[in-house]
């Protein structure tokens, strides 16, 4: 639905973006990741024509974006930035209404959309709709910034380090919330970040950029298992990539039928012949959490339970170790 073809931007003699191409499918989240000055922000800003490309083109649903007036094009693309840029003289509701009003939506539809988005981002409309940005915390401002970017039901959401200016705890919480919202709404997202953990968490695929070029475009798992260069390897983090790999998959992927476990009255389980009973692992846990629990408990195997607490299988350390096989 968005196709980028040989996009290039030169500033004087510098090729800030050097002939990059990729496709963004509907409902997909793609991250442009790389160090400062690698051209990722410039690429993003060429897509909504805040910067005009020197060469190459961008197609949206097969239509060349240069044939669409910039303002019209931008109304179809949500835009959230690190500085947030909420209008300080407008209320939260008025800020969110910006694009719907530019699109000429009827009043009732705008009001309904504001309410829907505020609920979605955990900001009760009765409390927040009439507040001004300076009355909000940093995390609340950033939520409103993303809500505002999504207000006009854009075909694609462009985000430039949207959670960059937040403290780590708030950032993690916002990432979790955003991930849930994105999955629910099926939003197509192009996100620029220099934070690999954020990219792994939020994106389906990552385009790793270096000096204006894409050096590898792949899923998180493929990037970890088969980095195309030493640069990519250093970026994904060579020390803890085994753990990162584990955080990408859930326990259900490697679960086996549980044998020899019996349920105790307090919700724990006991392996036949063992002295102590063990607290089970949730089926929604990642392999990383499973490994952590196994190490902490000092056992080879843990039972896995569903939301109701019923045992659905068991996860064994040897299978987790084998999951990482193939890495150098």
């Amino acid at each position: 639905m968005i196709t980028v073809e040989a996009l290039t931007k030169t500033f004087g003699p510098v090729r800030a973006v050097d002939g990059i191409s990729f496709e963004l499918a509907e409902g997909e989240a793609l991250a442009l990741i790389g160090p400062s000055g690698c051209g990722k922000s410039t690429t993003l800003r060429m897509i909504n024509r805040l910067i005009e490309p020197s060469a190459g083109r961008v197609l949206i649903d097969g239509v060349d974006t240069t044939s669409i007036p910039p303002a019209t094009l931008r109304l179809r693309m949500g835009y959230a930035i690190q500085g947030i840029g909420l209008f300080p003289h407008r209320t939260v509701a008025q800020n969110i209404a910006t694009v719907p009003r530019l699109l000429g939506w009827p009043r009732a539809r705008i009001a309904a959309r504001i309410e829907e988005l505020l609920e979605l981002f955990g900001l009760p409309p009765a409390v927040f709709a009439r507040k001004y940005p300076h009355e909000l915390s940093g995390g609340q401002q950033q939520r409103v910034g993303v809500a505002r970017a999504m207000a006009g039901k854009p075909a694609v959401l462009l985000m430039d380090e949207p959670f960059g200016a937040l403290d780590p705890i708030t950032r993690t919480r916002l990432q979790d919330e955003f991930l849930a919202i994105r999955r629910r709404m099926g939003t197509t997202v192009l996100i620029v970040t220099h934070d690999m953990d954020e990219a792994f968490k939020l994106a389906d695929r990552l385009a790793v950029m270096e000096k204006g070029r894409i050096v590898q475009l792949d899923t998180p798992e493929a990037l970890l298992r088969h980095p195309a260069s030493a640069f990519v390897e250093s970026l994904v983090g060579s020390e803890d990539r085994g753990l990162k790999l584990l955080s990408l998959a859930g326990v259900t992927a490697l679960m086996q039928p549980a044998t020899g476990w019996t349920a105790e009255a307090d919700g724990t389980f006991r392996k036949a012949g063992a002295d102590a009973s063990l607290a089970p692992l949730s089926a929604s846990a990642s392999l990383r959490e499973a490994a952590s629990r196994l190490v902490f408990a000092g056992v080879d195997e843990l039972p896995v339970v569903d939301e109701a607490g019923a045992m659905v299988g068991a996860i064994a350390m040897e299978r987790i170790i084998a999951f990482g096989g193939g890495g150098r």
């Binding site: 909504n48 805040l50 910039p70 303002a71 019209t72 094009l73 931008r74 109304l75 949500g78 835009y79 930035i81 690190q82 500085g83 947030i84 840029g85 909420l86 209008f87 300080p88 003289h89 910006t98 694009v99 530019l102 001004y132 300076h134 009355e135 915390s137 910034g145 505002r148 970017a149 462009l158």
Partner: protein, 396 residues
């Protein structure tokens, strides 16, 4: 972050400092009441006369009680713990001085002496000034909103006008001068407003767009601000003089312009000079106002698909407005004062009385021109401060 500025408690240090000012003013008022000449009796309007401090007034039945009332107000203001008490004491003191001056003048004037005049002495001005400061200081501590401040300023000026209209000051020399110039006073007043408004309006119409242009074009900014700064440094009397020659030449070359009222002296050169003085504050504040708009806000507005005009109208202008209003306030107060000098080149205005009074060494005629100028400037400052405060206070 969510804190209301009005709800903020007064810090300890600020309160003490505020009381210090009230005390200083109270001491000044007490000294002025006791020793400075409150009124002066002159044989005629030109010769300087004999001054009387309040306790020394021949009409002791008036002088002593008035001195006692004023002293009491000063003491209350100095000791007041609540700002409202201080405000009341200040207002009462100022009003007592105002009323007392009129009554004392009537008592002091010898019966049947047609040429003798009673004028206000330094004691009166010191007392009014001290109580005025006490009152203003109290109002600041009370943290009234913009509307409250406007209401109060107009009420104060209204009270003075009521005292004057009731004829209480008719035996004071300044009102004698007014009576002799009644018609021309209001004409020159209207002319003064024409001078101020007629220079401000074009300065805004040209200055704000010019300021926006300077904001957008860094190259233009330096040049424009440099030229306007140089204009600002030309002394006002020289500026009015400088206007005369080219405009006279213009009128001579094109008689049609002369017929339309454009001449080397009179209204036109004064308007041009005041307009030129107005440009720097308007342009500089417009530039500063637009520069203060956060770049991320403009970037977000662009990125969401706001066109340049809409961006200007609904984002940049509202955010720059409070700073621009501050520039308008500077221009307005400055021009109300400068317009007095315009009387020198025959443009009229309250300055006419100032210069005529100086020529005749009749100080009360000077006051007849100067006092309305001070009052106008004061009202303009209060109103525009309130507008700026409101624009800023609208959560921004």
């Amino acid at each position: 972050m969510t804190e209301e500025p009005t709800a903020r408690p007064v810090p300890e240090g600020a309160a003490a400092e505020g009381r210090g000012l009230a005390r200083l003013c109270a001491v000044a008022a007490l000294l002025a009441v006791g020793f400075a000449p409150f009124l002066a009796l002159q044989p005629n309007r030109i010769v300087s006369g004999e001054g009387f401090a309040l306790p020394a007034l021949p009409a002791a039945w008036l002088g002593l009680p008035l001195a006692a009332v004023l002293a009491a107000c000063a003491v209350v203001a100095a000791l007041a713990h609540h700002a409202a008490v201080q405000a009341l004491a200040g207002a009462a003191g100022a009003l007592a001085a105002l009323l007392g001056a009129g009554l004392a003048a009537t008592a002091l004037l010898p019966a049947g002496a047609t040429l003798a005049r009673v004028s206000l002495g330094s004691g009166f001005w010191l007392i009014i000034g001290a109580f005025g400061l006490i009152l203003a200081d109290a109002l600041v501590k009370l943290r009234g909103g913009p509307l409250a401040r406007i209401t109060f300023a107009f009420a104060a000026v209204g009270a003075v006008l009521v005292v004057l209209a009731a004829g209480l000051w008719n035996d004071l020399s300044i009102m004698r001068e007014y009576a002799a110039n009644r018609d021309s006073f209001w004409q020159q007043g209207a002319r003064h407003l024409v001078l101020v408004g007629g220079s401000l309006a074009p300065a805004l119409l040209l200055g704000i767009p010019l300021g926006y242009l300077c904001h957008r074009q860094a190259a233009a900014r330096g040049a424009v601000l440099a030229v306007l700064s140089v204009i600002q440094t030309v002394p006002s009397i020289a500026m009015f003089g400088l206007m005369m020659a080219p405009l006279a030449a213009l009128a001579a070359a094109y008689p049609a312009l002369g017929a339309a009222g454009i001449r080397g002296i009179g209204l036109t050169p004064a308007l041009v000079a005041l307009f030129l003085y107005s440009l720097l504050p308007v342009v500089a504040n417009t530039v500063a106002g637009f520069a203060a708009v956060p770049p991320a806000v403009v970037e977000a507005a662009r990125g969401m698909g706001m066109g340049p005009l809409r961006r200007l109208a609904s984002v940049e202008w509202p955010l720059a407005f409070p700073v621009i209003v501050t520039g308008v306030r500077i221009v307005l107060v400055q021009n109300i004062g400068l317009a007095a000098v315009a009387a020198l080149i025959g443009a009229g205005g309250f300055g006419t009385f100032v210069f005529r009074g100086m020529g005749q060494t009749a100080m009360d005629l000077v006051l007849l021109g100067a006092v309305p100028i001070v009052i106008l400037a004061f009202l303009a400052a209060v109103v525009l401060d309130a507008v700026a405060g409101r624009a800023r206070g609208r959560p921004a």
